[in-house]
Structures are given as C-alpha cells and as structure tokens.
C-alpha cells in the first residue's frame, strides 16, 4: 500500500482531487480553510491523506500545524503537492519547502483549464526539469489528467531534487543542527523546538547568525520566495486580463453589506417558503402512517405499555423533527453551498472586517458565523481557521448567537402565527422577510457586542494581524452541489437530530405518563418553573421545553405542544391555525411570542455544540462559559423586554 499525502495552499482543489480519486465526499468549497482535519481515503492500492491547506510548512494556525507535522514527521511514501495554475508562483513556496523535507514529491498543477481560459501558459516540462520531480497538469473538476497522475504515482522513482541554497552561515547552522531533513533544521531556526537539547543548539545558532547580522526570516523564508519568483519567471507566461467589476459592487463600502444581508435573507426566505408545502405533506404522511401503524399494533394485541411510548412518544417527536427540519434544510444547504462555491463567503468576511475589527476580533469570524447559520457545531469546528487563540475563543463563544437550522423552524412558526398572519398575501410575505431580517440582524449585532465585551474583559489581548485571500469567482457545478449538500450536510445534520430525538421522545412520553399524586411529572416540573417563566414573559412549560430540547433545539415546539395537550392524542399540528389556538388557549400573548423569540436566539448551546466546544477548546472552563453567556443574556433580555411591554400595554 502506497501512502500519499495531499498537500498544497488552501483552496487549490485538494479536496476535489481527493474526492475524485477516492469517491468520497469530503466537503469542498471556494474558500480558504475548508478542510480542517485529515481525511483518509483509498484508490486501488493507494492510501490517500487529504491534509488541511497550508501556505507554509512553518505553521501559523492549528490547521497548518496539522499539515506541517504530518509532512515533516513523514509517515507517507509520496507527497503529492497540488498547485493552482492561476497562482503557481506563490504555490511554489510550499513546493520548495517540501523538497527540503523529502525527494519523494510529485507536483500536480490543478485548474489547467481555467489557466488556459485566462491566457496563462505554463511550461510543465521545464518546471519538471528544474525541480527534477514529475509535474502533471490536471483539472480535478473536469477530470482531465487524472489517469496520467495515477500512472506517475505508480511508476514513481525518487531523484535528487531541487535544493535551495541559503546564505553560507545558514547552511553552517543546518549542518550543526544535523536534523533528519534540512527543513526540520530550518523550522527550528525560525520557531524553536520543544526539545531542550535541540533548543540549546538552536539558541547558539541564532546568536551566531545575529552576530553576523543575518535576518533569519528573510534569509530563509524570503529566500524561498525569491527562488519561487525566479523559477516562475522561467516557466510561466501570464497574459491574464483582470476584471474586478463584480467585486467593486459586492465589496463596496456602502452597498456591500446591504447586498450581503439581502442575499442571506433571500436564501432563508426561499428555504422557508419553499419548505411550507413539502413540510405539510410530510406531516400528513407521517400522521397517516402513524395512525395506521398504531391500529395495526392494537389489532395484533401489542400491549399499550409498549405501543404508546413507541408511537405517541418516539414516533411523534421523531417524525415532527424530520417534517420540520428536512424540507428547509434540503433547500437551505444547497443554496448556501452555491454561495460557498462561487466564492462569496470570503467577500462577506472582507465586508464585515471593519465591524469585527472594532470588536477587536478576527475578520474570519464572519466565516464561522456564516457556518453557524447551518449548524453551530460546524461553526465552532470551523473556528480553527482563526490563527490567534484569543480570537478563536471569541468566535467559539459567540457562535451560538447565530440561529442555526434547528432553531429557524421555531422562529418562523412563531413569527408566522403571531406577527404575520397565516394567510400568504404579498404584504405578509414582505412582512415576514422584514421580520426575519431584523431577527438575523439582532443575532449578528449581539455577536459584535459580546465579542467586544469579551475582548475587553476575560479575553483581553492584542489583536492579531488579519490577512485573507479573496479567491476568483468560480462557476459552481450545480448538480454536484445539490447532491453533495443534500447527502453530506442535510442528511448528516438530520441524522444527528433524529438520533437525539428518539431517546428524547421516549423520555418526554415517560415524564408525560408517569403520575405522582394525580399529576404527571411534566406538569410537576413545569409548575416548579412556572413563576420563573412568567417573570421572563413565558411560562413553565416553555422553559421546560427549552430544557428538554437541550439535545436538539428543533424539538422545543413539539415538547411544548405535548405538555399543553397532555391528555389529547395526535392532532394535525401542520395547521397553523390549530397551533395558534392551542398556544393562545394556554395563555400565549404577543409578549410570550416576543420572549420565546428572544430566548430561542439566546439561551444555551445544544448538547452537540457544547461537546464540540469542549473538544475544540479542551477546557471545561470555556465550555461552561459558553453555556452561561447566552443564557444570562437571554434571561436578562426576556425579563427587561417583556416587563417593558407589559408596562406600556
């Protein structure tokens, strides 16, 4: 088995090539930092590792460290470096660095079709002879050159490849450090070593270089860049015509942010409106199946102690979650993935950087925030793209302010019932877009406020630099986008929700059907919480529903309804008028609706997100803080807003 390590700059198509070879569905997208962990896959007798994108083997971020360690420590046979033909010169940096680690390198130049279109001509043979390694031009998206690449891998023979000549003093130090590879010595000279013995030698080398007036960074890394420049001059002819008209509009100081917000709201609106009918259909279908299934169970004399928890507990909650979540997600994720593929996300980060800058946070937080709209746990993991630990923590702690897909159904249902009206006139449509925009703006605004507060209190520190690449726009492969986003994201997130809703359904049924002195446990619990709930403009049932919805936010409304109608059996909850009657007859008012909306935006992250925060921060302290901050904000806001409205009315 030949082990292949796929490396290269971010966003050059490593994951696309990986998917092409292994038939796997590693998530791809047109922005830096898509791949945050190592993915492993197989093609015939090749074992392929997809490493996170890195500009350099001298790491700056967590993800680059993963790649750097993997390449330097060397548990692979061939390093397959993927370069972007459009920016080959810059990409050569990591090629030259890797050649300092090993001779077992194949260079794969991707996007040759786009390069051709842009009048960029590359002399592959000349490059191969300069570097003395195989150089293959491919297009992973268009499946060009893949066979030749496989042939090259299978027939690979190691040669003495190109080596950089540093300043003679640096070369002396490399000899003194005497590491496994030249690059290891270089890395030690630049960033030091955790090994005491080595570090002692490194210190002496640095002193020696210092005495000779040698700037280590410049004579090593600057020199590598210079070498890349010289090589590129020999092999690349660039006649590309640049056109930044679209960017001038999308990133304009005045129009940029409004355009992005309209785009985002439009996506949500399409998801919600488009999901109405299929959701309704699913409800009816599940209802029909549920009723028949229950009848069958009764007819074959299954005791009620078994079929009731099964059908009224597990089945009802699980099918609700599917009916509510699946249609909007199946629309939202493909649309969002289209934006990703086009290359819009980095532009959003660019536009919003001014605001994040004022919050003393990192502009890349805009990207993790956007991911949070899909799923907060994904947003938390995505925060790895942020280099500074302080700024990464800010991004992680504030991610749950962004309403995820699991919370949107709750928000929409309440907006529709209490603020817009159930009929679908043009005015109502306009009103729902407006209210949705306000909700999204509130959540983004809160992200800025809390980021700022964190950065002047518990996460004080110097702001790190922020450098972001804005990739060229790419035409997305629409069919692939739909397939990929449905299978990789929609079904993944849905599957997770279903897994937690099965036990949740059972527990809720049990709490609902175990009686202590004439009242079931759910009612006991909601009575205990009732006074506190009223104080926040809600009631005990709502608070209990949020608590029981800890595993997944999408089950909050079903739980509420189950408690409100503890004695009723199934109703057609897809009918919003019926839903409204149930809520109103249980004391819901305008104030309740506002409070529930606020609390949906700001309470505690769901269990999956919390577990992810624990894994990413490796700290119980930060996990607890991430739980407490939104909770306090939610409680305080609900208390203030509901009481102010009460006084006014």
């Amino acid at each position: 088995m030949t082990k292949i390590a796929l490396i290269g700059n971010p966003n050059v198509g490593k994951s696309t090539l990986f998917n092409e070879l292994t038939g796997m569905h590693q998530h791809t997208g047109n922005w830096t930092g898509k791949t945050v962990g190592i993915a492993k896959g197989y093609y015939k007798d090749l074992e392929i590792y997809d490493l996170p994108g890195a500009y350099s083997l001298i790491p700056h971020s967590k993800e680059e460290e993963v790649t750097s360690d993997f390449i330097i420590n060397g548990n692979y046979d061939i390093a397959l470096i993927v370069c972007d033909a459009l920016v080959l010169e810059r990409n050569l940096n990591i090629v030259l660095q890797t050649l300092e680690v090993t001779n077992n390198v194949i260079l794969c130049i991707n996007l040759i079709d786009e390069a051709k279109k842009n009048n960029i001509i590359i002399d592959y043979d000349k490059l191969a002879s300069i570097l003395n390694i195989p150089v293959i031009g491919i297009s992973a998206r268009k499946k060009i050159g893949i066979d030749k690449l496989i042939d090259t891998i299978n027939n690979f023979k190691s040669n003495n490849s190109f080596q950089i000549n540093y300043n003679s003093k640096i070369e002396e130090c490399i000899k003194i450090l005497n590491t496994k590879s030249r690059f290891e010595a270089i890395k030690y000279l630049i960033v030091g070593s955790s090994d005491k013995y080595i570090n002692e030698k490194v210190k002496q080398c640095r002193l020696y270089l210092n005495d000779n007036n040698i700037d280590i960074n410049n004579s090593i890394l600057g020199n590598i860049v210079k070498n890349s420049e010289d090589i590129a001059k020999k092999v690349v002819i660039n006649n590309k015509k640049y056109n930044f008209k679209i960017d001038r509009i999308l990133t304009n100081k005045v129009t940029g942010i409004p355009i992005m917000i309209i785009l985002l709201v439009l996506i949500f609106y399409i998801s919600i409106r488009g999901a109405n009918y299929p959701s309704d259909l699913l409800f009816r279908l599940f209802n029909y199946i549920g009723n028949n299934l229950k009848n069958i169970l009764i007819n074959i004399h299954i005791p009620s102690i078994i079929y009731e928890p099964l059908m009224d507990g597990i089945y009802r909650v699980t099918t609700w979650v599917i009916a509510v979540m699946l249609p909007p997600m199946a629309i939202f994720f493909p649309l969002f993935t289209l934006l990703e593929d086009l290359g819009i996300l980095p532009r959003i980060a660019f536009n919003m950087d001014g605001l994040f800058n004022k919050s003393n946070a990192c502009g890349k937080q805009a990207l993790t925030m956007m991911m949070g709209f899909g799923c907060n746990a994904v947003g938390v993991t995505g925060s790895r793209i942020i280099d500074s630990k302080r700024e990464r923590l800010i991004a992680i702690l504030t991610n749950s302010f962004i309403p995820c897909n699991g919370r949107f159904p709750t928000i929409i249902t309440i907006l529709t019932i209490f603020f817009i009206g159930v009929s679908s006139s043009v005015f109502n449509s306009f009103l729902s877009i407006l209210l949705l925009t306000i909700i999204i703006l509130i959540s983004i605004f809160m992200t800025f406020i809390v980021s700022k507060i964190l950065s002047i209190t518990i996460l004080k520190g110097i702001q790190s630099s922020f450098i972001l690449e804005l990739p060229p726009y790419r035409k997305p492969l629409i069919f692939k986008v739909i397939i990929r986003s449905i299978f990789d994201r929609t079904l993944f997130v849905l599957g997770r929700a279903v897994i937690v809703s099965i036990p949740a359904g059972l527990i809720i049924w049990l709490l609902n059907n175990i009686y202590i002195s004439d009242m079931n446990i759910l009612n006991h619990l909601s009575n205990i919480l009732n006074n506190f709930g009223l104080l926040l403009g809600m009631d005990g049932v709502i608070l209990l529903a949020f608590l029981l919805g800890f595993p997944a936010n999408e089950i909050v409304i079903p739980i509420m309804l189950m408690i409100y109608m503890s004695n009723n059996s199934l109703i057609d909850i897809s009918n919003l008028n019926v839903l409204k009657n149930i809520l109103v007859s249980n004391g819901w008012t305008f104030i309740t609706a506002i409070s529930v909306l606020i609390f949906t935006l700001f309470h505690f992250p769901c269990s999956t997100t919390l577990l992810t925060i624990k894994r990413e921060t490796n700290s119980i302290k930060w996990t607890i803080i991430s739980f407490i901050i939104p909770l306090i904000i939610g409680i305080v806001l609900c208390f203030i807003v509901s009481n102010i409205i009460r006084v006014i009315i």
């Binding site: 350099s56 810059r90 536009n351 450098i467």
Partner: protein, 74 residues
C-alpha cells in the same frame, strides 16, 4: 509612502516591510517580499484588497501602514 497611501488601481514595488515577524512571515507565505509588485484593487472599512502575484489578498490598514512602497505607477 506606505501601502495605505496607494489609490485604487495604483501599483508599486515594496521597498521595505516594517511589520513584526509574525505578519512579515505571513506576507512571505503570500509571496510578498521586498521587490514584489503590489496593486490596490478594493477598499473597505479599515481593510483593503491588493493584487499580489495574481491573487487578491485583503490586508488590514493598520498592518499595511508598515509596508513601504516606491515607484508608484497607474
């Protein structure tokens, strides 16, 4: 003059990078060394995007302030 003083569409050659090591190394990664040609393309709030070696790179103005350019061309 510093990178920030460029106007949209103007380009210049970097003569000196006075940033701290962390940023300087980051700039090296993106192919920006002394002598590299750089062109201002987009302006936003506190951050601009430049064309560096055929790719569009956004750099915050407070960092760009320490990058000195000479030989400005339209």
């Amino acid at each position: 003059m510093s990178l920030c003083d460029l106007k949209i569409g103007e380009s210049g050659y970097v003569t000196k990078i006075n940033c701290n090591d962390d940023i300087r190394v980051r700039l090296y990664d993106l192919g920006l060394i002394e002598g590299t040609n750089i062109k201002l393309i987009l302006i936003s709030n506190g951050i601009n995007a430049y064309l560096i070696k055929n790719s569009l790179i956004a750099i915050r103005n407070k960092d760009a302030l320490n990058i000195i350019v000479g030989e400005v061309n339209d």
